[in-house]
Symmetry: D2
Subunit: 347 residues, 4 copies
């Protein structure tokens, strides 16, 4: 860490800073420039809030952290790309993983027909919400326990692995037997107690990016899960909030290569939540794959115009089946694969 | 609600939309313009997701909701400004309420000396975190139960009402006896199960605005609390996330008059979290009061440069005591009061 | 246009609104709902500021414009995709157009070697700045007239069409003979007098998106050019400003399908300015192509670490030559072409 | 400047960086930490693009600039607060300066009645646009030369100093005789040739903040004006673009204390453009004054509901006259003055 003093900082102010650093059993190296005195702080580990602590000292102009705050999520800690096995699927390898399914589990019939349709088209994991976070208290909030049971039925019938959202620590134990991957939604991306609870549950976790989360904060949220001993974390970019209103959110497609540079964790793209409009899902899904993502998460519903939630951003079965060969083509163009046989394309 | 059809929408597409609306026991009025057919939807109540549902129909260009989604938070529901009594303090009346205290409860001594100092300077409520949400898992996260007990001691010694943060539904019962107001932090502003749990707890709730929360979403979050029968909700603007980096967040001071136009709930300003730097707290506090806020929430610490969290944005006792008469002067300039006697200024 | 009155709007307020509308020779249709009176405004053309005008009337809650403000840029006006011919290149057809070259023209040698290298790798247009907008007045600002002459030499030697930036109306005539396409930079995207001046110059115009420009505003800026009779406008997404700091800007890849839905104009992607860092250019270039863009604009420099501007976001010759076959592969995966022969890849 | 090398940077990479620095006649000091080698760069002046230049070297992880890029705008260069005299008014002193007038000069009568009304209420400078930047080419764009003549008449009749916008370098000479202060609008805030042209014109310049301009970029834009020898620059915060939609822009009230900490230049607030809605102007004007701004710029129109532009955000004469005593009260509460006599309040 480097502490830059004001041009006018007094000798005493510099000494106070140095004394405080040494009181923390760290080393301080002074370097006096023409304008600024600069203090280098050396020691391992640096307290995570050391920058905040030092900024407040009289005479300090700026504190610059050199080492990143995340550890377990970084390549330094884990020099191989993380691969996660869920049933027959391997996430983080050469193959693109496609997760598909409805926003909410609405009924047995809706769920099972969708599971069969997305399996047929080449998806390898099935999504569906039993507990739904909704902006307004007056909206449909999921079937709860009954929804979980329907998901279990879909797994039994199709063999697809299941991913479903958990919203609060107390539900982790309830959801655990029914899901193969815990999904943490964007609104809970900094719900730290929930992150720790799923970190202890011994199953993979997909962590969606919060609407206004810096990539660094997102990796630190993953760090919460990993600090519990669970290294199977998948990140999912689903659009950030910006000023533009033509799409529900702005897909930050750059997050794909940035995460890959900073971390060994697999990174997915959710074009449905990013776009918010069915017409743009294809373009965003293909963009994500071209940018190098490890997988996609796409909302599919038998009759989007009758969906109880997110109908506007769901594909119907035909649209999804038509998208998959395009995903495959782009995946192969960038040296990845999509395990979709020609027979899978028949709908 | 108004549904605008595409210029090229077919008669059949229009009919499908109308049929769907009528299937929901709502009325549809057609109006055919030169370019667009417009369908007015009438009926009470409109399903909250009706816009999403209808957007997805073929031929629909845009859906415009006319009535707002929030009810209990609006003036229509509650034509008098909400006033909340906490001990001797009334929030939402003519007097500005100042909440002050440290970011975290660190020790008995730190807490009690701060409580006495802010009481002396004119604060009427005391803040302090026992459970702290931190971006990194490696930072100080609060004293927990011991922190709550220290807060109780501060209340006993000074008579100040207490506000402290609760982070998860399971903690609500634990925190309840120790606090007079539940604080919901920015990161939990859309943690709906938590909102409902504090809604049932029968004590006032302060709801901080999420970093990228639209004012409409914030009022809907308040609606979650109120829908449980708890009408004592206080909103607190604490800065939103923008591109500017000179401050930790950007104080959206306009939120003060906007909230007051849309809702009967009291609105506070937290200049400490907005600024993130001690040097700007005074300007933002005074701006909030001039804009008409009902109260301020300010971080105060006996030795900010030794604080375990948020030191950079905390005032020391002298700075806080010097700020209060300025708050009083601006409050009076805009027709409000601050119950600070001259003797209170003596520190 | 629809004018929604407040629930409590008086009969007189409604009448005032209607009278004002009729005074503008427009028609007003009243529709009285249970809560709101709604006034439909009909007439062609609507004054462009009618919404602003009407919002200000007492009793008006909201004004909703139904028809879009842009005309010449919309599909209604021009139902075929716009194709622009520049030398042997056609922009907006099946082939992806790649523009490449240095940020700034620095010298004859730097420019000519780069032009040959990008031609060899498959670029069909050459970029280079003679006039550079720089955030600080103390930075290198381009060679001016001498830079234009070097560009002419590059065109003569390689046959590549030229695109260069013009910064002020008075320079349009000077730049005109040396360029095939006028580039309007992000900072000048709402410099309306400049837009009109290039609109009159009878050559194609590339209009970069402003850092915080809504897509609607961008199309209206294109409308300025087109209103002068020049229909050859190319839009270029180059990243918008958001809170994220890992990239210089956030590439709004969704802008590609959104623009294509709203407008017949070709849409390019500039991964260099969006990323700001060389490591991310490839991923963003491929994402843009997968999303359906009509072309790319990429900064290439013989020795990026000695560039006078934008070195950090420039590829060197090898990197560019290695990128092109990948662009070609993704282009073909989405049904487009890139006219790069195998021989072109030899560098 | 500090250059932080990657943990894995080779000796050769470090040497290359050092060699490049020395080739620019600067000094490099190496400091080898446990994880990172850090290179301090010393020398005056640092090339303004040195950070960009060095970032691109292999092995470099990050470049941190210690000294700010702006000079003439900083306190280092000019340790006294800048005061600007325009007629009888002094900007930047104890007194708050209020600029008022219509968005556009529409007619002689509209302009003169407004000038008399705002003078009466206590404004000391008069604003009015003769050249108007408009988002759409189909909107009213000002009276041009005739508008300037009407402004001259207003000055003659009332004695109020004039501020009006100039949009392009070629108009600077035309506008010069009619104005006392050149206004540079938000959309032209990085139109560098225009900034230089007004810098040469020998009259004060008000520089509005661009919609997505960092405060640092804004000061660098002021630097463009000052580098021409014109030190009379006024900054004006008028709202930035964020995700919130309840106001037209988000007033960044923190910009007031931040600018004052970084620069000696006077800083104004424009509540009209920030709010975009008449109902919120008062709150934002008072917030700006409480935060310490040096002046306000407010749109006033005789009949806002008939204004040709910005009616929704203009006050009428009564509203403006009622606002001024409130501004005075808040100004006095924060130790400033507003030279408005009691007689001035009579309308």
């Amino acid at each position: 860490m480097i502490i830059v003093m004001n041009p006018g900082a007094s000798r005493e102010e510099v000494n106070d800073v140095v004394a405080r650093i040494r009181s923390l059993s760290l080393d301080a190296h002074l370097s006096e420039g023409e304008e600024h005195t600069i203090i280098g702080v050396v020691g391992v580990p640096l307290p995570p809030t050391l920058d905040e602590m030092m900024e407040v000292f009289p005479g300090v102009e700026r504190v610059v952290r050199i080492t990143s705050k995340f550890k377990l999520t970084s390549w330094d800690f884990h020099p191989q790309k993380t691969k996660i096995r869920v049933g027959a699927t391997t996430i983080g390898g050469d193959a693109i993983t496609v997760i598909a399914g409805p926003c909410s589990v609405e009924s047995e019939e809706q769920t099972l027909t969708t599971a069969h349709a997305v399996l047929q088209a080449g998806a390898t994991l099935f999504r569906g919400g039993a507990y739904k976070p909704r902006t307004s208290p007056y909206e449909f909030r999921g079937l709860g326990q009954r929804g979980l049971e329907i998901l279990a039925l879909a797994r039994e019938e199709t063999g697809l692995g299941i991913i479903t959202e958990v919203m609060t620590p107390a539900d982790v134990a309830t959801v655990r037997p029914y899901t193969d991957i815990f999904q943490i939604g964007a609104r809970n991306a900094q719900n730290y107690l929930l992150l720790e609870e799923v970190g202890k549950a011994g199953k993979p976790v997909m962590l969606k990016r919060g609407l206004s989360m810096l990539i660094e904060e997102w990796l630190l949220a993953a760090e919460y899960v990993m600090a519990q001993g669970n290294s199977e974390v998948i990140l999912c970019e689903r659009g950030i909030r910006t000023f533009e209103v033509q799409t529900r959110n702005t897909l930050d497609v750059s997050a794909v290569p940035v995460v890959q540079k900073l971390s060994h964790l697999p990174i997915f793209v959710d074009p449905s939540h990013a776009a918010g409009k069915r017409a743009y899902i294809e373009a965003l899904a293909l963009a994500g794959v071209a940018a190098g993502c490890d997988g996609l998460m796409i909302e599919v519903h038998p009759a989007p115009d009758h969906a109880l939630s997110d109908g506007a951003q769901s594909l119907n079965f035909t649209e999804f089946a038509e998208l998959m060969p395009k995903v495959k083509a782009v995946a192969e163009a960038v040296g990845r694969t999509l395990p979709v046989g020609d027979e899978a394309m028949v709908v």
